[in-house]
């Protein structure tokens, strides 16, 4: 390989100086590792490497999630390469920053595909980002695309596989739990104005009404709206007892603060946000997080030896990182994506052509992933998952109930 010296240490080579960014990071600022990275496998491999593209939000509004994805993927790939790669072929990682900005992303994704000619792309967190980059990847780029984040469903594009939970997987447990166990009946749905909240709310609303509950209001705000006093006032005055919150950063900070200030939780109201996880303290202060309900495919508190082991290795690989290995930030989805791809390539016997891998990945199962085993549901491009309902307690999450191999109920 070209760079022996790099192989020795860390295995990471940057195609450019880091001094500036490094200095900033040292100063405690999140400068972000934007731009192209290559992570080359250690040691010498006989066969040519598999080019694995990662396009995620290293900088911008949702950088914390993006960085945790990137680090988790590094962990997953390192483990595979240490174990001799896939059929003797190492995985070579290529990172491009989507910068939380679709306009930038489209160009950078192009670079992954046309310049680095990667065999597969994992990435995108918000559905806005997925919408923006799936076209350059799948259609214009003719490349396999794995999307790791929990999302709104109804993404049935060919050669696009979703490794995160769907509305069905998130709501089927959570909503009945809130209504039956806690007797919540009057729901409010303050939402960011894009596709994920719209479709998620649609599913949740149906479920709520099926269970005899009522949706008091369902409203969509600009992603960066900072003024929610009217909304919060309505929540109070209408006697809402459960806020089904799908506002995302940057609006999220203002909303949670104003909701908290109104004393909603204090007065026994339930605040649920299905993407909240251990990473969320990067977005909102702990006191505002306390007591929030959520439902995901993994929590640190899940009794799961595999997850525990992975967390340990993750901590060793990235000591003291503030980007945690969690579900809501798509990190578990990203890990699954790598494993699904590995399983698929094993199945094709090393054939990396999109059609072959796509056909293989359509029906594979994986073990050794956090939160429990998972398998693709043939012909749907989605996977069945174990789901856990949890509540925030002092920064960590208390598991309240769980279900195994919940079907995605998409594209079927």
């Amino acid at each position: 390989m070209a760079n022996k010296h790099a192989n020795g240490g860390g295995g990471i080579t940057r195609r450019s100086l880091l001094r500036g960014a490094g200095a900033l990071t040292a100063a405690g600022w999140v400068a972000g590792f934007s731009g192209g990275w290559i992570l080359r496998p250690r040691g010498a491999f006989a066969a040519a490497p598999i080019k694995f593209g990662v396009a995620t939000d290293i900088t911008g509004a949702i950088a914390p999630s993006g960085n945790s994805n990137w680090q988790v993927i590094q962990l997953a790939v390192k483990k595979i390469n240490d174990a001799g790669g896939i059929g003797g072929r190492p995985i070579e990682l290529y990172l491009e920053d989507t910068a939380s900005d679709p306009k930038v992303a489209v160009g950078n994704v192009l670079k992954l595909i046309q310049q680095h000619k990667v065999d597969v792309v994992v990435g995108g967190i918000t559905s806005a980002m997925r919408e923006a980059i799936k076209n350059p990847i799948v259609r214009r780029g003719k490349t396999l695309y794995l999307y790791p984040q929990l999302y709104e469903g109804q993404e049935c594009t060919e050669h696009l596989y979703c490794t995160g939970p769907t509305p069905a997987q998130q709501c089927d447990e959570l909503i009945p739990y809130l209504m039956n166990t806690h007797g919540k009946k009057r729901f409010a749905m303050p939402s960011a104005n894009y596709r994920w909240p719209q479709l998620l709310n649609k599913y949740a609303r149906a479920l709520i009404e099926k269970n005899g509950g009522e949706v008091v209001f369902e409203e969509y705000y600009p992603l960066d709206q900072l003024e929610y006093s009217a909304t919060v006032a309505k929540i109070k005055s209408e006697g809402v007892d459960c806020v089904f919150n799908t506002i995302i950063p940057p609006g999220l900070q203002a909303f949670t603060k104003q909701l908290y200030e109104s004393g909603f939780q204090k007065d026994g109201g339930a605040h649920t946000c299905v993407y909240f996880d251990e990473n969320s303290v990067n977005y909102v202060p702990e006191r505002e997080l306390e007591g929030v309900y959520t439902c995901l495919d993994y929590f640190h508190t899940v009794d799961d030896p595999v997850g525990a082991q992975l967390q340990k290795e993750y901590a060793e690989m990235f000591p003291g990182t503030k980007y945690l290995f969690t579900a809501g930030s798509a990190a578990t989805g990203a890990y699954r994506a790598v494993k699904f791809y590995e399983a698929a390539v094993k199945k094709t016997g090393g054939d990396l052509s999109r059609e072959a891998v796509s056909a293989a990945i359509d029906d594979v199962a994986i073990t050794d992933v956090p939160g429990g085993d998972s398998r693709m549901v043939p012909g749907t491009g989605h996977c069945a998952l174990n789901m856990y309902v949890a509540q925030a307690k002092g920064g960590s999450y208390e598991i309240l109930s769980s279900a195994n191999m919940v079907p995605p109920q998409e594209c079927g």
Binding site: A63, A230, K236, Q253, A254, S262
Partner: protein, 298 residues
């Protein structure tokens, strides 16, 4: 009733911030004939100062105290290094401030990694006002702004330097002609305007999280305020910014109030409410080009 109180309170809170932002901008515009397109970034700098203090482990209130002074210094430097040379040609000056704003904005974008940061207010929680829970911090903002306006007014009407400023404000040509040392006057005014913007930024950042684009939105709203209020007076811009400040939360609230028996909320989506602010303001400006109170126009 509760709704009414909440409404009035929110309107007051937002108006207060707008007043702080706009006042400096308007004074500079009418006195020197320069519209400072970098003004929004002064607001941003103020907000950023608080963030830095927090990062250094200092209390937020200290940052808020320091913000106006630090931003004033920044403004002064900018005035001396760039703007001062460009008074002769306002258009070039305007482009220059645009560039300066861009620099500050992007610099801060790098420093905070293009992210959004929530910042705690020194006084969290809510207080009860006539039996309605309202944010304690907003109450403080309203109070501080009131005090500041009174102070400014006294300064402008009682002190000799203040009177000079007022003179230059209401009749720029005359001031330049007469012996008044405009250099000193302008520098001070520019710094003062920056300070107010900085203070506004510092006070508002706990309500709105910190992000590099904080300034742009306020620049646009401030511009509309100045257009509405007209320049050349002390009161005009304040009135204008009060109107804009009232519209921003006002239109959101409008959705909660039944009009003629129908819920307007069902007709006006939040986004429409927001854009309505700009449209209404621009239309007023279009048909009332001199603003509410007029001595001149920019």
């Amino acid at each position: 009733m509760d709704v009414a109180i909440k409404l009035i309170f929110d309107v007051l809170a937002f108006s207060s911030i707008m007043v702080l932002v706009v006042l400096g901008l308007a004074v500079i515009a009418s006195m020197m004939g320069i519209f400072n397109l970098g003004h929004g970034e002064f607001v941003l700098l103020g907000a950023y100062t608080v963030y830095i203090f927090r990062e250094l482990g200092l209390p937020e209130w200290a940052g808020m105290l320091a913000a106006p002074f630090l931003v004033a210094i920044a403004g002064l430097v900018i005035e001396i290094v760039f703007i001062r040379r460009l008074y002769a040609s306002p258009v070039i000056a305007m482009l220059a401030t645009f560039a300066i704003g861009l620099i500050i904005r992007e610099l801060i974008r790098v420093l905070i990694g293009g992210q959004y940061y929530a910042i705690d207010e020194p006084v969290p929680g809510s207080v009860s006002l006539l039996g309605v829970d309202v944010s304690a911090w907003r109450a403080i903002i309203i109070f501080l702004t009131g005090v500041l306006m009174v102070a400014c007014f006294i300064f402008l009407t009682r002190t000799s330097f203040g009177l000079q400023i007022r003179g230059a404000l209401e009749n720029p040509g005359l001031a330049r002609a007469s012996g008044v040392s405009t250099t000193r006057l302008y520098a001070f005014t520019f710094a003062f305007g920056a300070a107010l913007a900085g203070l506004a930024g510092a006070l508002m950042v706990p309500l709105f999280s910190l992000s590099a684009d904080l300034g742009v939105r306020f620049l646009v709203q401030a511009f509309l305020s100045v257009m509405l209020g007209g320049v050349g007076t002390f009161e005009g811009p304040i009135l204008g910014s009060a109107v804009i400040g009232a519209m921003v939360p006002g239109f959101q609230w409008l959705r909660e109030i039944p009009l003629f028996g129908i819920m307007v909320g069902d007709l006006i989506q939040p986004i429409v409410a927001e854009v309505l602010v700009f449209i209404v303001a621009l239309i007023i400006v279009k048909f009332r080009p001199d603003g509410f109170i007029t001595k001149g126009r920019i």
